[in-house]
Structure formats: structure tokens, C-alpha cells
């Protein structure tokens, strides 16, 4: 077991493209971040920024074609996932790393009972026989607040919120070391978002699971994460401790997102829309990707891409102005 402050997951220079026709979508561009045991990193950013792609490349479940990982290294507990064989990856998927998907309505196989879908993963990663796996699956259902006699029911008999609970039960059934939660509440009713999130948080605490949380909701970031990475057009443009980022956001884009957040009141915690739209991912600008929308843009920004700078210990920002007063 790794010590608490040791690096547990390390992503270095991850680069992923999607090829559609003759064009390449530069979905993830030299993304690097680290995660410590038991901690949570939040990935925030607009739709299309590349967050889901980052999560799926860790599990190596990107659809290929069209997706292609051009480069990068992903290391989990010192093991380099990117160089594992497909067979070795089967043990990692669902066993060491599990994922909760964005849309619970489509994430479950409509023709299988929810029970069988949980059992499927359990049988793959444990020495359970069928009965033991079923018992464990029922236990997991109860744990996420679903009566265990609904084990034999099909997804269509559940509401969206309950489906997401099933997905959570499925993801956590094998006690994964790392949980990838891709906007786990976005598709749900506002009324049950908090419940589902609490559930994830509690279970994560209970099993000391590390988590990558993808979200639009700054309230969730504030409550749940330890570090935050802001993703823009496939790049991490700012990366820091949660407190540091909320107090001292540096990148104009982060500023825009977090800007005018009056004390983080409920309902006011959604990301702020920023004027303009993200650049065309098939034709990214040569310089800073945010330059076309940046209120502080200078000639330099358009000519060359700014480097990632460490402006205070553990606080990184990709902006020429970072560290200077704006």
C-alpha cells in the first residue's frame, strides 16, 4: 500500500485525437496531473473540453477508431497502464479503476437485470461463486439505497436517479482504488443530485477511494475535491489546490468561470458562461487557445502558446500574465 502523500496516479503528456474523415479533432493535448491516495481531483471545463476523453483514456476504453492516443504515460501505483497488454488491462478495468458515466439512462444494458449487471463485474474480479456474487450485489444495492429484492428487475423499471445508483453500485462493487466519476449528476433531477453526490462521497470516504470527478458544478468542486484542474480546448490551463484556486484564480478563463461568485451560494454555483465559444477543435489556434475570447489578449498570446508556469507552490497556470497583476 502506498503512503498517504505518495503519488498514486500520474498522468503525463496525455495526447488524444479523434479522426473524423480527413480532419483531426485535437481532443486532449499534453495533459498532465497527479493524484494522491484517497484524494479527489476535479476536472472542470466547458462541454467539449476533453474531460470525458481524459477519463476514458485512463481506462483505455476510447472507441478506436475514431480515437487515437498519440502519446503520454499513465501510471497507477507505479505501474504504467499505457504499456500494459489488453489482457492485463482487463484486470484494471472495473477491478482497480471503475467509472461512473454521464448518462445513467443509457449506461445500463436494457436487456439484463440490474442484479446480473452488478454480478458480471463481481465475477470478473473476485473468486466469488455465483451465490456469493449475488449476495454481494444485493449488499451493494442496499448500500446505494435500493431494496435488494429489486435485484431481478430491469433498467426500464428504474428512474434516472435509481439507475445512477445502480451504476454507482456497479462501479464500487469491486472496491476500486480509483473512481472516475464523469458528471455523475448532470443528467439527474436537481432534487436528487445532492443525494447521489452524497452517496458517492460517503462511499468514497468509506473505502478510501481516490477519485477523478468531472463536473460543471463549482459547488460540487468546493465540497468534494482536493485539487482542481481547469480544462480548456484539450489542455489543462490551470491546476491547483482547491482553496488556492478559489481564492486566487489566475487564468482569465478560470476567472471568468469562477468570477463574481458571491460566497458560493446554492444555485449560484454553476459555471458562468463566458462570452464567445471554444475554438474549433479541428483547427486550434497556434497561440493560446483562449486568446480569441480573452479580454486581456496581447499580440504575444496569438503568436505562441504560453508555457505552464508554477506561480506558487503547487499552483500552475498557462498564461503569460500569470503571477503578474492583471
Amino acid at each position: 500500500m502506498s503512503k498517504a502523500d505518495e503519488v498514486f496516479l500520474k498522468v503525463e503528456d496525455l495526447e488524444v485525437i479523434y479522426t473524423s474523415g480527413k480532419k483531426n479533432v485535437q481532443a486532449v493535448n499534453k495533459v498532465s496531473f497527479e493524484l494522491k491516495k484517497g484524494q479527489t481531483i476535479a476536472l472542470v471545463g466547458e462541454t467539449g473540453a476533453g474531460k470525458t476523453t481524459i477519463a476514458k483514456s485512463i481506462l483505455r476504453i476510447l472507441p478506436n477508431p475514431p480515437a487515437k492516443m498519440l502519446g503520454g504515460r499513465i501510471t497507477l501505483e507505479g505501474r504504467e497502464l499505457t504499456s500494459l497488454s489488453e489482457e492485463e488491462m482487463l484486470d484494471i478495468r472495473g477491478g482497480k479503476i471503475a467509472m461512473i458515466f454521464q448518462d445513467p439512462m443509457t449506461a445500463l444494458n436494457p436487456l439484463m437485470t440490474v442484479g446480473d449487471q452488478i454480478v458480471e463485474g463481481l465475477l470478473l474480479h473476485n473468486d466469488y461463486d455465483k451465490d456469493a456474487a449475488e449476495n454481494r450485489a444485493k449488499e451493494m444495492l442496499e448500500l446505494v439505497g435500493i431494496p435488494k429484492d429489486r435485484f431481478v428487475e430491469y433498467p426500464y423499471q428504474f428512474s434516472g436517479g435509481m439507475k445512477q445508483r445502480v451504476v454507482i453500485a456497479m462501479a464500487l462493487a469491486c472496491n476500486p482504488l480509483l473512481l472516475l466519476a464523469d458528471e455523475p449528476t448532470t443528467a439527474l433531477d436537481v432534487t436528487i443530485q445532492a443525494q447521489v453526490l452524497d452517496l458517492i462521497r460517503n462511499l468514497k470516504e468509506k473505502y478510501n477511494t481516490s477519485m477523478i470527478l468531472i463536473t460543471h458544478d463549482l459547488g460540487v468542486v468546493a465540497e468534494t475535491s482536493d485539487t482542481v484542474a481547469v480544462v480548456y480546448a484539450g489542455e489543462i490551463i490551470e491546476y491547483a489546490d482547491k482553496r488556492e484556486l478559489f481564492i486566487n484564480p489566475c487564468h482569465p478563463y478560470t476567472n471568468g468561470l469562477f468570477g463574481s461568485l458571491p460566497g458560493m451560494t446554492e444555485g449560484e454555483s454553476r459555471l458562468k458562461p463566458i462570452a464567445g465559444s471554444p475554438p474549433d477543435p479541428t483547427d486550434l489556434p497556434k497561440g493560446c487557445a483562449f486568446a480569441p475570447r480573452c479580454p486581456y489578449v496581447m499580440d504575444e498570446c496569438i503568436e505562441s502558446k504560453p508555457d505552464m508556469k508554477e506561480i506558487s507552490p503547487g499552483h500552475f497556470c498557462r498564461c503569460i500574465k500569470a503571477g503578474k497583476e492583471i
Binding site: 478495468r93 472495473g94 471503475a98 443509457t106 463485474g121 474480479h125 428512474s159
Partner: protein, 317 residues
């Protein structure tokens, strides 16, 4: 579910009644005189008149129709062949196993090969394996079955002397007919399977299964195929319905005394009781296969199953 099946079976009686009415009427108004054909070329006008009386053809349309419906649906009697003077049902029962054997074997073959080829093509989408498999399917579809039959006879019977060219006997008599009947279906099923597998390929629940660490081939056979099965079942159903009516051409080429050939001959000799009985049987078989298709849908998909259940399960929030 049982209630549903009973309802469908009752509906089937209506279908058979309607079919009887239509086929009887069509044959009644078909120009030409069956009595003359049956009596033979040398018969005198008196002989023919006699024959008409024996066959009941001198009665009115309504009377004849009534007789036909009464004996078919009340006495369960399909009548005697005009040509052979023997009960139609006996001859059908002798011939049915041959037709069924060819039809079912062909179907098993084209299902198996069709699905395997379709999955193979889909999992290699866009690569040369895909083009090759679908190319084969195209060739199968484009070759008329009688032509393939003749080519096979030429090769395997005339040249290589491996298989008998016609007639019935041991299993070796059925090999070529089965393959010829299967070819078109293989192509149809392969294309259908490929298309529907590709349709579910990018579904989220497939990604979920992958994220669980499930193996590729179990994902394909256990998650993708069941979800892609609906259109495949439909095409199986169509193939199934065609089995009995299906292969007059193949039966003619290989001289197999099956149902298809029976009806074909009966049409030529104006043996109307045989034609009517065969048509009715085909209608019956088609209705049964449609029922089976619907039951298969329900078997595969719990949402459809729920619709058939009389006591509706509560939908919980």
C-alpha cells in the same frame, strides 16, 4: 402471457377463414374448366358433364363455398385430390417432413453463418475482412438459386460424382438442396446482423461493459448481439414463414417430392383441393411463425415482455 397467446390463436382462425374465402374465390373465377382437364383430352362432353357433377362443380358459387368451408373448418377435412382421388392431408403429411427438413436445415445454416459473418464484418468494420465478407454476401444475393443449383449439380454430380443430382433417399440427397436454399438467407442475415451490431456498437452500455473489464468476445456475444437481435429476429421470422412455401424452385430442380412441388403440380393440373389445402397450410404456418417472432421479441426484451403481462408491475420512482 398465456392469455395473449390464446388471443393470437383465436385471431389466427379469422386469418384462415379469410384466406379460405380469398383462395376459393380466386380459383372459382379462374378461367378454364377443371373438369375438362381432369376428365382428360379424349373425354366427350357428356363425360365432362358427369365429371362436373361428381366434383360438385355444377353447384352455385355460394353452395360450393359453403361446402368447402363446412368440410374444412367443421369436419377438419381438406378433401380428396381430384387427380388421385386420395385424401390431400395424407399426401401432405408424407411430403411435409421433406420440405421442413430442407427448410429448417437451410435456416439453421443461414442463421449460423449469417450471424457469424455479420459479427465478423462488424467487428472489422472498414477493414479488408469487412469488405471481403460483405463481398461474399453480395455474390450470394446476386446469384439466382436455380442457377447455383444447376452449377452445383454440374460440379458435384456430373463431374465429381460425389452427390446424387435428384430424387430422395439418404441424407446425401438433401445436401445440395439445403445449401442452395440457404445461400440467399446467409447473405440477408449477414448484412442484417452487421448493420444491427454496428447500430449498438457505440451504445453507452457497451462502454459500461468494457469499463467493467469484460472480455471483447463476451461483450460482442453477450451484450451486443442480444441488443442487435430485434431486426435479426424479424428477418428470421420472414425466412421461417417462407420455409414451407419456400422452395418450389429448389424442389423442382432437384426433383424432391415436397410441398412446394406438390402445389406447383396441382396448379398445373387444376387439382384445386390440393392448391387450396396447400395455400391454407402456408397461411397457417406463416401465422404461427409471426406468433413465434412476437414471442421471441418478448423473450429477448423485458420491456416487450412487460407489455404482454396482464398484471402490470409497478413503475417505481
Amino acid at each position: 402471457m398465456v392469455k395473449y397467446i390464446i388471443k393470437r390463436l383465436l385471431g389466427m382462425i379469422l386469418i384462415l377463414l379469410a384466406t379460405s374465402l380469398i383462395i376459393f374465390t380466386i380459383l372459382y373465377f379462374t378461367p378454364g374448366d377443371p373438369a375438362r382437364t381432369i376428365a382428360g383430352a379424349t373425354a366427350t362432353a357428356e363425360d365432362v358433364e358427369n365429371m362436373r357433377h361428381i366434383m360438385g362443380l355444377d353447384k352455385s358459387y355460394i353452395e360450393q363455398l359453403g361446402d368447402f368451408l363446412y368440410s374444412t373448418f367443421i369436419k377438419f377435412d381438406l378433401g380428396d385430390s381430384w387427380v388421385y382421388n386420395k385424401p390431400v392431408i395424407n399426401e401432405m403429411m408424407i411430403r411435409l417432413p421433406r420440405t421442413l427438413f430442407i427448410g429448417l436445415s437451410a435456416m439453421a445454416l443461414n442463421l449460423f453463418l449469417g450471424i457469424v459473418m455479420g459479427i465478423f464484418a462488424a467487428t472489422h468494420e472498414g477493414k479488408w475482412q469487412d469488405s471481403l465478407t460483405m463481398g461474399f454476401a453480395m455474390v450470394f444475393i446476386s446469384c439466382p438459386d436455380f442457377w447455383v443449383a444447376l452449377m452445383m449439380i454440374l460440379l458435384f454430380s456430373a463431374t465429381l460424382n460425389l452427390l446424387p443430382a435428384y430424387g430422395i433417399g439418404g441424407i446425401q440427397y438433401y445436401i445440395m438442396p439445403i445449401i442452395c436454399s440457404a445461400l440467399g438467407g446467409i447473405a440477408v442475415n449477414a448484412r442484417q446482423t452487421r448493420a444491427s451490431i454496428l447500430g449498438v456498437f457505440r451504445e453507452d452500455y457497451i462502454t459500461t461493459a468494457k469499463a467493467k473489464g469484460q472480455k471483447e468476445n463476451i461483450i460482442v456475444w453477450g451484450h451486443m448481439l442480444p441488443n442487435a437481435l430485434m431486426p435479426i429476429i424479424t428477418s428470421i421470422g420472414n425466412g421461417f414463414a417462407k420455409i414451407v412455401a419456400g422452395t418450389p424452385v429448389i424442389e423442382s430442380v432437384f426433383s424432391i417430392p415436397g410441398l412446394g412441388l406438390y402445389m406447383l403440380t396441382a396448379i398445373n393440373s387444376r387439382d384445386y383441393p390440393v392448391v387450396r389445402a396447400c395455400v391454407l397450410f402456408f397461411a397457417f404456418f406463416t401465422a404461427i411463425s409471426m406468433l413465434l417472432v412476437d414471442l421471441a421479441y418478448a423473450f429477448v426484451d423485458p420491456r416487450i415482455r412487460a407489455r404482454y403481462q396482464t398484471v402490470k408491475k409497478k413503475e417505481t420512482k
